[in-house]
């Protein structure tokens, strides 16, 4: 299968003043198949948003991104920064943001903001841009689309605004849409509608979707592949059914244990929680970064970083003890 993104060893570094360096993303590999949905899951501070912003070249000014190889939408990039990625940003790769309340500029109409993207990248014909905007507003299920074009963002509800954002992302027929927690700020019924919409859109247009979330309910709903991210690394990767059904990494298991969704957990079990917090970005440990919070951590875990080990050709994880039978003495 051809890939819309193939990235090896992506790293993001933010140098601090006192010669220290923050490393929010520490060598992740990212492969997104054409027309598939990849979910990047992780708690706050795990680096998932940083990784996605690196794909657009929109990191904070002080941060730098490097990678061994960086192939996006069929092109290979030597450097990963704002300038280099300007040619694909907005056209081949579109982004949907978390907050529909603030992601539209309040002083322009919905129509002019939609047309802007088209006029910027495709052609300068305002009439064709308007036709395209109208078509997409209808496609994302906004009734009375014609009247909506001349409305301002404050006249629309959160769910409608997120639909507008989806329409805006589709304006240039992108090959990849990055959605950074697009449903987090919506209420539950709207969440489901927006998820359904994204799934339909993705099926109809054959667009690939990189979906960033911390919600396993959302993951089970929309994903083809799942990447679980922890402390700047991907700790488990595989097809959604395998990762959710048979998680290999203790972090994935712990996360799944926190999900209050009935069909994902045994009846009558208590909701879990993970003690502690994500390790500080300064002074990230050399050994397994989850060892300080892992209930099954042993002496090996605080000595060495776990290698990437395949359980089957499509499913791997980074845990010393992911294979049953590979047991070492518990840490004392």
């Amino acid at each position: 299968m051809s890939k819309v993104a193939s990235i090896r060893n992506l790293q993001v570094r933010i140098p601090l003043q006192d010669r220290q360096t923050l490393a929010p993303v520490r060598g992740i590999d990212l492969d997104i198949d054409v027309g598939s949905t990849t979910c990047l899951v992780g708690e706050s501070g795990s680096g998932k948003s940083m990784a996605s912003m690196a794909l657009l070249g929109l990191l904070p000014r002080t941060a730098t991104a490097t990678a061994d190889s960086f192939n996006l939408v069929g092109r290979s990039f030597q450097s990963i920064d704002e300038k280099a990625l300007a040619s694909v940003r907005g056209k081949d790769i579109a982004m949907i943001f978390q907050e529909p309340m603030t992601s539209l500029n309040p002083v322009y109409t919905i129509g002019s903001q939609l047309e802007e993207v088209y006029l910027r990248h495709l052609d300068r014909d305002r009439r064709r841009a308007r036709v395209r905007a109208l078509e997409l507003l209808e496609r994302v299920g906004i009734g009375n689309a014609h009247a909506r074009l001349s409305q301002y963002p404050h006249e629309l509800s959160g769910g409608l605004r997120q639909r507008v954002m989806i329409a805006m992302a589709l304006m240039c027929d992108p090959k990849l849409i990055i959605a950074d927690e697009p449903t987090t700020a919506l209420d539950v019924t709207t969440q489901l509608q927006v998820l359904e919409l994204l799934r339909e859109i993705q099926r109809d247009y054959g667009t690939s979707l990189l979906f960033i979330t911390h919600d396993f309910g959302v993951v089970s709903h929309i994903a083809d592949d799942v990447l679980v991210m922890y402390a700047g690394q991907i700790v488990e990767s595989g097809p959604v059914a395998t990762v959710l059904g048979d998680p290999a990494h203790p972090y994935t298991r712990a996360l799944l244990d926190c999900v209050p969704i009935p069909h994902l957990r045994p009846r009558g079990s208590l909701l879990g929680s993970i003690p502690g917090v994500v390790p500080s970005l300064i002074g990230m440990p050399e050994h397994c970064s989850f060892s300080s919070r892992c209930s099954g951590a042993r002496s090996l875990c605080v000595k060495h970083e776990a290698p990437q080990q395949y359980l089957d050709p499509s499913h791997w994880s980074r845990c010393h003890f992911q294979f049953p039978g590979n047991q070492a003495p518990l840490r004392t």
């Binding site: 657009l56 929109l58 300007a86 940003r89 992601s103 500029n105 910027r120 990248h121 006249e155 805006m168």
Partner: protein
């Protein structure tokens, strides 16, 4: 209510949050400020139609005619409705000069506010958006500007280039941009953290586009408020400079110049100093009320 609605739709003003027009109407400061400001603007624009006289035409036979209340009191046989506020020592109709003076004050106020607004807003946008070294440089520039006494600079400039309307406008416009810069800088810092700015970056907008098309319109409420206050400031500054003889040259009918020329006659014709003073007071008060009202009003809108 329906009238304001109609106006709004004619002018294509975006439909405000419901009741906004109503509340604007009820804000007394905003109301009186707007009414008086519009009154002065109307007077300035319609001056040639409101008065049959030329503000520069001197007439030796009509010198020092008293105002209309001297006719009522029987003090001055020459006082009549022909010259409501009388004439000055050159026989020029005083009311006419006042009307034309509104033009000069407003013209200076608007142009100086526009010039300083453009300079200050640009600096503020750059400082707020880029931060870091750019911000440090521009903040230093603001501090530097604040340490310069405006009157002293004006004195030096007039001594070097002589006085003219153009020079007064430039001196004021090029010197009072600091408040714009400070306010726009902080507004920009707040706006640039909004997701629509990230969204604009994500669709591939250039930096000038983001600065001037995405951020600037959102900072506009703050800029308008500062602009009214700076306008009032510029008008006062012009009057002060003219009073000191550093402002617009005679025979332009500037209010400050009229006050300055009338000060020698303070004990014989006090109205000649009181009337332009009162006009200046009213205009500056009105513009300040308008600015304050708009500030309250935009803050209230933001809260809802």
């Amino acid at each position: 209510m329906s009238l304001t609605r109609t106006f709004a739709s004619i002018l294509h003003i975006p439909r405000p949050i419901s009741g906004a027009w109503n509340r604007a109407w009820q804000h007394k400061g905003l109301f009186f400020g707007a009414v008086f400001t519009i009154f002065f603007i109307a007077v300035a624009l319609l001056a040639p139609y409101l008065s049959p006289y030329d503000p520069y035409a001197q007439s030796l036979v009509d010198r020092r005619i008293g105002p209309i209340w001297h006719m009522w009191a029987g003090d001055d046989a020459r006082a009549s409705w022909a010259h409501v506020f009388g004439t000055d020592k050159f026989g020029r109709d005083y009311l006419t000069r006042l009307l034309y003076g509104a033009r000069i004050s407003l013209f200076i106020g608007v142009t100086a506010a526009v010039i300083s607004g453009i300079i200050g807003s640009t600096l503020g946008l750059l400082a707020g958006y880029f931060g870091g070294r750019v911000d440090a440089c521009i903040s230093f520039l603001i501090q530097f500007r604040l340490s310069i006494p405006v009157i002293l600079i004006a004195l030096a400039v007039v001594a070097l280039f002589g006085s003219s309307l153009k020079i007064v406008i430039l001196v004021i416009g090029l010197l009072v941009w600091d408040r714009f810069a400070v306010v726009v800088r902080s507004a920009t810092m707040q706006i640039r953290s909004m997701e629509y700015i990230s969204a604009a970056q994500a669709i591939g907008c250039s930096v000038p586009h983001i600065l001037f098309r995405e951020i600037l319109p959102n900072a506009f409420p703050a800029i308008i408020v500062i602009a009214t206050i700076e306008m009032a400031n510029a008008i006062l500054l012009e009057a002060a400079l003219s009073f000191l003889g550093l402002g617009v040259p005679a025979p332009l009918p500037s209010w400050g110049l009229m006050i300055s020329e009338a000060k020698v006659e303070l004990f014989f014709a006090p109205w000649m100093i009181v009337i332009p003073g009162a006009c200046l007071f009213l205009l500056v008060l009105a513009i300040n009320l308008l600015g304050d009202g708009m500030r309250d009003f935009t803050a209230a809108l933001r809260k809802t």
